[in-house]
């Protein structure tokens, strides 16, 4: 009998706004909206675990909330806001730089506002004109010098550096051996002594070669 009375009072509450027999009542709407205060969340969750009536009421509240939230946002009649046009937003709209909400607002506005539609067309034409301009090559002196580093170039540089190092070493050795009063170097004789062909067939042997103009 007590359950019957409780059920009746619950049904009546649904139509009259009278609080249900359970004391968490309005906490359930706040729970739905994420508006509970400290400590209330545990109270609601604990209660909803056990109370079937409140679970049913919770679902009904959720349905009512969903019904209102599903109502469409309405379009304001043109005569109400004749001066409200979109300016800078139209370019951002063309470029896809608006939020989803802003896009919806502009699409709706463009369906009824000829002024903004014409402005959008002008902006689109200007945007297309700029984007269709041919690319222009910059003057050559303005181009940065970008080094080309191929393997071949690197090897060549290494060979030059090695030759330079060997030459410098040879001069240094020559100066050291000749002492402070160096004697002039006979280039032909120097070439005869230092220009050799290396053969590895029968061990490392030095074979004199002959410079241009010299005699064997």
């Amino acid at each position: 009998m007590a359950d019957v009375n409780k059920t009746e009072s619950m049904e009546q509450a649904a139509f009259t706004g009278v609080e249900s027999v359970c004391d968490i009542g309005e906490l359930m709407s706040a729970y739905l909206d994420g508006e509970l205060r400290d400590g209330e969340l545990e109270q609601v969750v604990a209660h909803l675990t056990d109370c079937l009536e409140c679970i049913a009421e919770f679902h009904e509240l959720k349905e009512a909330r969903t019904a209102v939230r599903m109502l469409p946002m309405l379009q304001v009649p043109d005569r109400v806001m004749p001066a409200a046009h979109y300016g800078p937003e139209l370019s951002a709209f063309l470029d896809g730089e608006l939020t989803a909400d802003e896009q919806v607002m502009i699409v709706a506005h463009l369906q009824t506002c000829t002024d903004c539609l014409l402005e959008l067309q002008d902006l689109d034409a200007a945007r297309t004109a700029v984007r269709s301009m041919p690319g222009v090559e910059p003057p050559i002196p303005l181009m940065p010098r970008i080094p080309v580093r191929s393997q071949r170039t690197s090897l060549k540089r290494l060979a030059i550096a090695a030759a330079g190092f060997i030459g410098a070493a040879a001069i240094a050795i020559n100066m050291a051996s000749s002492g402070p009063e160096a004697t002039p170097v006979d280039l032909d004789e120097f070439a005869d002594r230092h220009t050799v062909r290396v053969s590895v067939e029968d061990g490392l042997t030095g074979v004199p070669i002959f410079m241009h103009g010299s005699t064997p």
Partner: protein
């Protein structure tokens, strides 16, 4: 909208016009009353912007909107009408099928009709919460009532609304 910037009147009209209109329409169910309210609010905003101090702009705007609405109700000395929507078809979004459109319109009409039967003080809080999207704290500031009162009114409004909606959900 940034809190530290004073918006122009055109900003307000563009960004909030639809919300203000929807707020008024859901409360009154009357497109003419809703249009009048939007114009009145925009006039008050235009006058008020000169003295507006950057802060919670939305709180300021919705207080103006609510006051304008109450003034309008008092001036006309009539309760909000129960005219069913005839321009509630202005659904903006993806292109639904004809069946979906019809179902959506019927659904909207039913919910709107049920909303209008909920007492105004509860309806106001439900609409501010679920149509406008304000928090309980913002609603509290808008209607100048404690948060506990807001919480209670939203809950009671939803309970009554669900009792009035007869179709299965």
């Amino acid at each position: 909208m940034a809190e530290d910037r004073v918006p122009t009147w055109e900003d307000v009209a563009r960004r909030y016009g639809r919300k203000i209109y929807s707020f008024a329409y859901r409360l009154t169910g009357n497109p003419d009353d809703a249009s009048d309210l939007v114009q009145e609010v925009l006039l008050r905003v235009r006058k008020g912007l000169a003295n507006y101090t950057p802060g919670s702009f939305e709180g300021w705007l919705w207080r103006i909107t609510r006051n304008a609405f109450l003034d309008d109700v008092r001036k006309k000395k009539r309760r909000p009408t129960t005219v069913l929507p005839d321009d509630d078809r202005a659904v903006v979004g993806a292109s639904p099928s004809p069946d979906e459109v019809l179902a959506s319109v019927r659904l909207s009409d039913d919910v709107q009709a049920a909303l209008l039967k909920v007492p105004m003080e509860f309806r106001e809080c439900v609409v501010l919460c679920d149509v406008v999207g304000l928090s309980y704290e913002e609603i509290s500031n808008t209607i100048d009532a404690p948060v506990g009162t807001v919480r209670s009114r939203i809950h009671r409004g939803r309970k009554q609304l669900r009792g009035l909606l007869t179709w299965p959900m």
